[in-house]
Amino acid sequence: MIAGGTLTRVAVADDDVLLREGIASLLERSGFEVVGQAGDGSELLELVRSRAPELVIVDIRMPPNHETEGLDAARVIRAEMPDTGIVVLSAHVEVDQAMELLAGGERTGYLLKNRVTDVSEFLESLERIVEGGSVVDPGLVLELVTARRRDDPLAELTPREREVLALMAEGRSNAGIARRLWVAPGTIEKHVHSILAKLALPETDDDHRRVLAVIAFLEAR
């Protein structure tokens, strides 16, 4: 991927060499420059500090404890180099981890690991992050949106509005949603306006903020 005439510099961290190599080769093939690979959190930090990649793709569970080392590393990177985009890959959906990651700021993504095999979607997600957006795994959003509640505020929404809400939660911009749904951006804007009004959420131009608000709303409803 070429941004401003140069390849996007990416670091990949995963303790599974095969998978790591697979991702790296996918990225190389897709126009990224893989500046380095790491097998655990501290290696990643070293790599990020020395090579200053624009994007880091990191597995959440890594040695030594196989707990949330990827998330911990992301926090450090966020603090030290706030402009670095971070995609955290998780073996399973954990809403609070996604929330924590997103709360750290924009240019973040939380994706299930198996998303990498859906190459075009994956690359698009990376692109959105590099461009300053946020990405939330559709599976996680689906879980949040389909969770059943008594006196569900989402019951107010039309099916189309729900679709739009889910895409908002995934971190897509209005334009992105419009592209996705094959409708005019104006229509999406109207939907978004209606949704926010119905759910009593504040209007914002900042996509990242919107993601946070929507996710928080969905999680707490």
């Binding site: 095969l18 196989h66 707990e67 095999t117 969770a147």
Partner: protein, 626 residues
């Protein structure tokens, strides 16, 4: 005793006097009869003489032989009558007088009567002369005078004898009267004495017996009676005392049995050991009238630690929480013999143990070993400031309690072992599940994704012309994505990885989100919980939600989780149809094991029409409150 002897002597004396008097009366009577016989013999002899005289005179005058018939009869009867008189008078003082009469009659016969009759036969005329007649008359008068003298003498004698007999009879009457009156007086006296010495105490004993029968066992009577009565009173008092003692013993036994029953009930109810031991310490102190009791356990280093104690001493307990048994303590002997031991501490006892007990004013102590599963587990000690019951009795009573204690401890230990073993089983299974989950996520899933990536790479490598190949590769990659999604679903069921990071609250939220029936979650779980507690809580809620979604036909489920006072309380309730059988085929049975392995408990209520409620309490720390 003395009185009865006196009475016998007195009455015997009176009767002796009476007997003597009667005897002499009988003698007097016999003599009087004899005198009368003697008189009649004299009278008959005189009559013969008169017959002689009358017969001879008639013959002399008339010469009629027929007049001689009575003369002849009298003449032949004369010797007999004479001999009889002599015989009767023979043993009396007037024999000579009788002999003279007989001789005079004989002489009258020979010298006068025979010659006269002979002369008359011959017809001699002199026989009828006045002279001869006068001589005959004079001779007969002489004889009569002799007879009269004899009779007079006899009569005087009879009169004197009669007077003697009368006097004797009078004496006998007097003696009998005196004896009778004396006897009556003595009998009255004796009766009153008997009444006083026997009747009153016996009546008192009867009254006391009635009181005893009525349950008043503390009555006693004065042991002042003489002889057998005193013995009776003594025996009675002894009987009452022994009854009193038996009843006290019975009461003690009953109290002990009641105490044992209470303790046994606690054992059966599986109350926590602390509570049980406290109760035993108290019950034993009451039953044994001890001033202080303690239950102590041997620690591996030989020290004793105090588990429970009771005291009525103001100064507190003589037992510290943990002690190294001082020299001279019961412990040494119990360790050496495995048998109960007791001690009395007198002023001269210099041992450390004695000093300790004396400081608390205790004078004696007794300890019984407690064996659990054949191993010396600890001791039960009782100590007294005052009098102590018989050590053997105390040992016996104490050992009944220690047997219960041993049973309870053995139960508690087996239960603890069982719980620990269950916990180990659960923990092992959790570790296995966790490892499988990790292997699935970090191994199998990674592998599948890698393969997916390789397929994508192959797809990318294939030339745009090879559409079919590309499509197949893409399908394969898609298929793998589906497999990975399934694998995630499976691994989530195997172990909730979310627990490792987000804690119970996040895990419950995830459960609530995934439930097909709306869930109202209230999770006030503070702080980090031990993993087994979190895992158990998670599974419990997960299983309860799944069951409710499947069977309850509920419109809403309520999940409450809170930490409170060292426990986690969980409840999952629904507004569905209820009527679920908690034991039939539901995964909750396995959860009960899991919860109980942590020392918690699980209750399920599911009345038809009232929904189902699953409630569990799990101690946060093992062995914590339930």
């Amino acid at each position: 005793m003395l009185a009865s002897v006196a009475l016998v002597v007195l009455i015997g004396g009176a009767f002796a006097v009476l007997l003597v008097a009667l005897d002499s009366m009988r003698d007097s009577g016999a003599l009087a009869r004899h005198s009368r016989v003697e008189l009649s013999a004299a009278d008959r002899l005189e009559k013969r003489v008169v017959d002689l005289e009358t017969g001879q005179r008639g013959f002399v005058i008339t010469h009629e032989p027929r007049f001689l018939a009575p003369w002849r009869a009298a003449r032949s009867a004369l010797p007999v009558a004479g001999r009889r008189l002599l015989t009767l008078a023979g043993d009396r003082g007037h024999q000579s007088q009788a002999a003279r009469i007989v001789r005079a009659v004989g002489s009258y016969m020979r010298n006068y009567s025979l010659p006269l009759v002979a002369a008359a036969r011959r017809g001699d005329p002199d026989v009828a002369s006045v002279g001869a007649t006068l001589r005959g008359k004079r001779l007969v008068d002489e004889l009569r005078a002799r007879f009269n003298g004899y009779v007079a003498t006899q009569r005087d004698l009879m009169t004197a004898r009669q007077a003697d007999a009368d006097a004797e009879a009078h004496r006998a009457t007097v003696a009998a009267s005196v004896g009778l009156v004396g006897s009556i007086v003595l009998i009255v006296l004796f009766a009153s004495y008997l009444a006083r010495a026997i009747l009153v105490p016996i009546r008192r004993a009867a009254g006391m017996a009635r009181q005893i029968a009525g349950g008043e066992l503390n009555v006693r009577m004065p042991e002042s009676g003489l002889g057998e009565v005193g013995m009776l009173e003594g025996a009675f008092n002894k009987m009452a005392a022994s009854l009193d003692e038996s009843q006290a013993e019975l009461r003690r036994q009953a109290a002990q049995q009641a105490a044992l029953r209470r303790v046994a009930t606690l054992v059966a109810r599986d109350v926590p050991p602390d509570e049980l031991l406290e109760s035993v310490a108290r019950e034993v102190a009451v039953v044994l009238e001890a001033d202080t009791t303690g239950l102590l356990r041997y620690e591996p280093d030989g020290d004793l630690s105090l588990l429970a104690a009771w005291t009525r001493l103001d100064v507190g307990l003589p037992f510290p929480d943990r002690l190294t048994p001082p020299p001279g303590s019961l412990n040494e002997r119990i360790l050496a013999t495995g048998r109960p031991a007791s001690s009395e501490f007198d002023e001269n006892d210099e041992s450390e143990a004695a000093a300790l007990y004396r400081r608390y004013g205790l004078r004696s102590t007794l300890g019984v070993p407690i064996f659990v599963g054949g191993r010396l587990w600890g001791l039960m000690v009782a100590a007294w400031a005052g009098e102590r019951l018989d050590p053997e009795v105390v040992e016996w009573r104490l050992s009944e309690f220690t047997e219960l204690v041993a049973t309870a401890i053995a139960n508690a230990e087996s239960r603890a072992e069982l719980a620990a073993s269950r916990a180990r089983v659960v923990a092992a299974s959790d570790q296995t599940r966790r490892r499988i989950e990790r292997n699935l996520h970090d191994g199998t899933q990674q592998r599948l994704i890698s393969v997916g990536l390789q397929l994508r790479a192959a797809e990318a490598l294939a030339s745009p012309d090879q559409r079919k190949l590309r499509a197949q590769l893409s399908d394969a990659a898609q298929g793998l994505t589906g497999a990975v999604a399934e694998l995630q679903e499976i691994s989530r069921g195997i172990h909730p990885a979310i627990l490792s990071r987000g804690g119970l609250r996040e895990a419950l939220k995830a459960l609530a989100r995934r439930s097909s029936v709306p869930v109202e979650l209230h999770a006030a779980v503070d702080g980090e919980l031990p993993e087994p507690v979190e895992v158990a809580s998670y599974y419990l809620v997960s299983e309860a939600l799944t069951n409710a979604a499947k069977h309850a036909r509920a419109s809403v489920l309520q999940v409450d989780a809170e930490t409170d006072d060292g426990v986690v309380r969980l409840s999952v309730t629904d507004n569905g149809v209820g009527g679920a059988d908690p034991e039939a085929g539901s995964g909750l049975v396995g959860l009960r094991d899991r919860v109980e392995a942590l020392g918690g408990d699980l209750r399920i209520s599911s009345a038809p029409g009232h929904g189902t409620a699953v409630r569990a309490t799990i101690p946060i720390e093992p062995g914590g409150p339930r």
